[in-house]
């Protein structure tokens, strides 16, 4: 038994706006009988004001699919196309006083049918951009949709994604892909949300680090070209080096020094200058 709100029950038992709008200006379609639910949304638009003056639905699906479709028609009626295009699945679910997690995909279906109807009204075709590649082939769910749904609803597990989008609920071969997307979404976010802390190095740490970079990175490269350098001293942020071998008479030794300087600035996070003895 599903834990449906009274509003869901009401919209399921006595749905509003069932059927097809006569002489509809656009019909949005989503889903299929094979995957177990489908929604056809027809809208009538006032050309002058760009307002949706009528909306009706036809739905094949469970109680919450019927309720979500009916709620969608109530939500869009009277709205301009621009206002309507901002309606998300969360708005539909909220209008119904919430949906069980396992049934959230019903509200996503509503949002998609609306998107489809508006695009068709404008005579626009959905152009496949990167990110619109289909991840779940069973239920035709794109990478973008998984990303968007995950971010908007703060979903962190594959199960949650399946409840909301159905992705991964069929053959299950795309589950590793969904895991990858979730990992990308949440690792990037967590880094962004957390201010990057720069550890302040102690003098000794800085000197050791500089010595280390010169020994391990810089000198082997110079030696490969027949040159070399010695670390002479470190005075505060000033690093004094002595050029050796081919470097001594090298015409591009200034460039080499600048390159070393940039690398040392990068690893220490400090304004290092490099000078020759």
């Amino acid at each position: 038994m599903w834990d449906y709100t009274d509003k869901v029950k009401e919209f399921f038992l006595r749905p509003k706006n069932v059927g097809a709008v006569e002489n509809a200006d656009a019909v949005g379609e989503v889903g299929s009988i094979v995957c177990g639910d489908a929604l056809k949304l027809s809208i009538k638009v006032d050309k002058e004001t760009n307002r949706i003056v009528d909306a009706k639905f036809q739905t094949f699906g469970c109680a919450s699919a019927i309720a979500s479709s009916s709620a969608l028609t109530e939500l869009v009626k009277g709205k301009t196309l621009e206002e309507a295009s901002k309606i998300t699945n969360k708005d539909i679910a909220e209008y119904l006083g919430g949906l069980p997690d396992e049934k959230m995909h019903c509200s996503v279906m509503g949002m998609e049918a609306l998107e489809d109807a508006i695009l068709k009204y404008k005579g626009e075709k959905k152009v496949l951009r990167p990110g619109e590649n289909i991840i779940c082939k069973c239920f035709d769910v794109s990478e973008d949709k998984i990303r968007k749904t995950a971010i908007e609803n703060r979903l962190k597990t594959v199960d949650e994604i399946t409840h909301y989008t159905k992705a991964g609920g069929g053959c299950g071969t795309c589950i590793p892909e969904i895991e990858r997307i979730l990992k990308e979404v949440w690792s990037v976010r967590e880094i962004k949300e957390r201010p990057v802390e720069k550890k302040k190095l102690t003098n000794l740490q800085r000197m050791t680090l500089i010595q280390d970079v010169l020994e391990r990175e810089i000198r082997p490269k110079l030696k490969a070209d027949g040159g070399d350098l010695d670390l002479v001293d470190i005075e505060g942020s000033k690093v004094i080096v002595g050029l050796r071998g081919m470097c001594v008479d090298c015409p591009s030794c200034d460039m080499t020094i600048k390159g070393i300087e940039a690398r040392l600035q990068e690893v220490t996070g400090q304004d290092i200058t490099v000078v020759t003895e």
């Binding site: 599903w2 399921f12 038992l13 749905p15 069932v18 059927g19 379609e29 009988i33 094979v34 995957c35 177990g36 639910d37 489908a38 929604l39 056809k40 639905f57 036809q58 739905t59 094949f60 699906g61 469970c62 109680a63 699919a65 019927i66 396992e102 049934k103 959230m104 995909h105 199960d159 399946t162 409840h163 909301y164 989008t165 159905k166 609920g169 069929g170």
Partner: protein, 400 residues
């Protein structure tokens, strides 16, 4: 509103006689059957009476009956025992349409390195016997096949399979949870080594099951502890439920002696009336070989959960093979294994009757359901909706 309960394959009403038989064991007769004193000892004697009652229902010997906690425990115990007693054999055969207590246990075995064969069924839900024969080999530890399917009621040829396996010396377990009490079973003639049954499917309470283990079958207990059930299932006996199950088995035996024809007739009436009044409806499963209480009907172009919730408004309880759960919207593994057409697979409803159902209850369902189907079809973007919408409007006009 009076409840019309047509979901007896899910669970059943506890028979009033069963409740009555159990009551003293919650009050004055609270002794432990293992105790030395006669206060506990008298309880032990009653448990043995119940054991005999269970044995008599299925044609077994009392000592072949092990009381367990539920049907799932019986299933798990049987398979676990079979593989533990045959450590060299690492192949198990079952079917694609088993209960999850068997299917998920088999998946668990696969995780442990066992090879499992899941036998296919045809569009009527009948087992592919050739596939069974082909999959048998020297490594097969056990074959587990259900007696009757919980969703469609289709009965498998247990006797035929049993003979095939006995000739090869392979263990045979049968999950008979849906069959016991609904059809006669005589283990004296049936070549089966282990059978699972569950109390709450035959008017006993929940929380009591039985594993039948034929005399001479090697057995390893699953639950280890005290010496209860002759060391085959530890744990203090669930006395009241055991007494209740004994009583329920006695009642079932009398009921079966009277014959299952009246129940089957009631089911057939329901089925025929629904098929007649709802176009594009079809019965799932082999109608020739079916439990007398079960019918599984698909209503095309509508979704099962929606039908159930509408029926719920009238106090009518049924269930759907189209469990629209966990977002996957996958119809039941049983209907999928049968390859039911996609227009019908999502709109399946199972009605499972019991001896408590009446003609007037069936009449009520036949009155209420067709308009629900018509209305839901009028919402659906598929099917013969124009005609259906017309009929629906006609109904509404009549109601006004």
């Amino acid at each position: 509103m009076k409840t019309i309960y047509l979901d007896n394959n899910a669970t059943t009403q506890v028979a009033p006689e069963v409740v009555e038989a159990m009551l003293p064991y919650f009050t004055e007769l609270y002794g432990n059957a293992s105790s030395m004193h006669s206060f506990g000892g008298q309880v032990h004697a009653k448990i043995e009476v119940a054991r005999t009652q269970v044995a008599e229902l299925i044609g077994a010997e009392p000592e072949e009956i092990i009381f367990t906690g539920c049907g799932s425990e019986s299933d798990n115990t049987a398979l676990m025992s079979a593989v533990e007693c045959n450590p060299a054999k690492r192949h198990v055969i079952t079917t694609r349409v088993e209960h999850s207590a068997i299917l998920n246990f088999c998946k668990h075995l696969e995780g442990k390195g066992y090879r499992v064969t899941y036998l296919p069924v045809d569009t009527l839900g009948r087992l592919n016997m050739d596939a069974l024969l082909e999959s048998l080999d020297d490594h097969t530890a056990v074959v587990s096949v259900m007696y009757a399917n919980n969703e469609t009621g289709v009965i498998f040829p247990i006797e035929e399979i049993g003979k095939m396996l006995r000739a090869r010396g392979i263990l045979f377990h049968v999950d008979a949870v849906q069959a016991v009490g609904k059809i006669p079973i005589n283990l004296k003639e049936l070549p089966v080594d282990m059978i699972s049954l569950s109390g709450h499917k035959l008017h006993a309470p929940k929380g009591i099951g039985v594993l039948y283990v034929r005399k001479g079958t090697r057995f390893c207990p699953y639950l280890i502890g005290g010496h209860q059930e002759r060391g085959r299932r530890a744990g203090t006996e669930n006395v009241a439920s055991i007494i209740g199950l004994g009583k329920a088995c006695e009642l079932a035996r009398k009921e079966l002696a009277r014959g299952t024809a009246p129940l089957a007739a009631l089911r057939d009436k329901l089925e025929a009336a629904l098929l007649e009044s709802c176009p594009d409806a079809l019965v799932n499963g082999d109608r020739e070989n079916r439990l007398p209480n079960t019918t599984n009907i698909s209503f095309e172009y509508v979704e099962g959960e929606a039908i159930l919730l509408r029926l719920n408004e009238f106090g009518i309880c049924a269930s759907s093979g189209s469990a629209c759960t966990s977002g996957s919207l996958q119809p039941s593994h049983v209907l999928r294994a049968m390859g039911i057409p996609y227009t019908a697979v999502h709109g399946s409803v199972r009605f499972s009757l019991s001896g408590y159902n009446t003609q007037s209850e069936i009449d009520r369902v036949v009155e209420v359901l067709p308009p629900i189907i018509r209305e839901l079809r009028s919402y659906s973007p598929f099917g013969r909706d124009k005609f259906e919408q017309y009929l629906c409007r006609l109904d509404a006009a009549r109601a006004d």
